[in-house]
Symmetry: C2
Amino acid sequence: MKTIAITIKTVEKTGVLHQIAEKLAIKNFNIIYTHLFVEEDNTGTIYMEIEGVEDDHELINYVNSISDVTSVEFHKTLSDIYGKRVIVVGDGEFMAQAVKGGIMEAEKHNINGERISVDGMMIGGGTQIQEAIIAISRLPRVCALVLSGSMMGGKITNAITRLKESDKEIIVVTLQMPGDVLTASDVTVNDPVQAGAMAVRMVSDIDKLDVYNQII
Amino acid sequence: MKTIAITIKTVEKTGVLHQIAEKLAIKNFNIIYTHLFVEEDNTGTIYMEIEGVEDDHELINYVNSISDVTSVEFHKTLSDIYGKRVIVVGDGEFMAQAVKGGIMEAEKHNINGERISVDGMMIGGGTQIQEAIIAISRLPRVCALVLSGSMMGGKITNAITRLKESDKEIIVVTLQMPGDVLTASDVTVNDPVQAGAMAVRMVSDIDKLDVYNQII
């Protein structure tokens, strides 16, 4: 029994996902992650990671036999290809430095067989940053958040508290700055390059930095 | 009729997505993007963007009434919050510079109300880069790819050709380097910072750089 990923192209019409999910449910395949797009030509693309697959070929033949399916492709899961995500949110030169620190650190880990990517979201403004932080719990594969700015607090702090209460385990690293954001984050770092690098090391499986044991 | 996003928390069991999609299909709601996770505590989270919604409250009440649904939350779509994604793939200092160029350029656009993020995937090795490029067509919101390395070609070039043939319209910017990768990309740029910035300007709606009209 293993987890595999497939991409299904379909004729797009209301309810087509329902049909396909139904057909997979009958066979006791368990969809653990899926996303669906409607393409510009009005066809649909469904990406699915499915648990409990005994026979890949049987699954593919089965999906191919579903009406409205035009093709099925079998491949590695997005987690295998892209791995963990570290998201950096903030603005200005310091934020770019934090992304750079994360990326350079990720290179070392990726050479050793890990997969960590660093996503930079250059935005300012309390409301925009608040929205971006809250929505992180809805993004796949995110393991750490780095906040880089001149001053953060209030609604941003509330957003972090809310993120921490969600089911996801997301480490929050904050640059040293004025504002009560520091009270909600896991670690505060002075240097932006180091903040990015530290976030990557904290989510790494190899050469992991256990910050909690360093600060006693 | 508008597009709205909801997050549904459910009891996780095989087929629960099917049940929910079925209930939405009956009501003629059209799911245009969805993703589903299984959380560590074995509950499920379903994020859905749904087209053709006339009454938000009616939808939320309706979803709440479905068995196995524990909560429903209504919010902005991920596209509204995170916007377009530029992905930079490659390794070394130049790659970090390309990400930095993209991020600094994105700041200007985001201040003006756009949403563009830059995702750095620091990897080397033909096979790994090939996999990452092919899988980009399965990622949401990606508009441009920047390739930064010392030499790329062969299977990487084939992967770009395949990406170009997919339904997605993704701009490919490549650093000047040896290898036939240049033949498959849209633009070749000498300076890595400029390559990242250019990719952001090419996907922007405001202050858009129309490269094709510059090189005649």
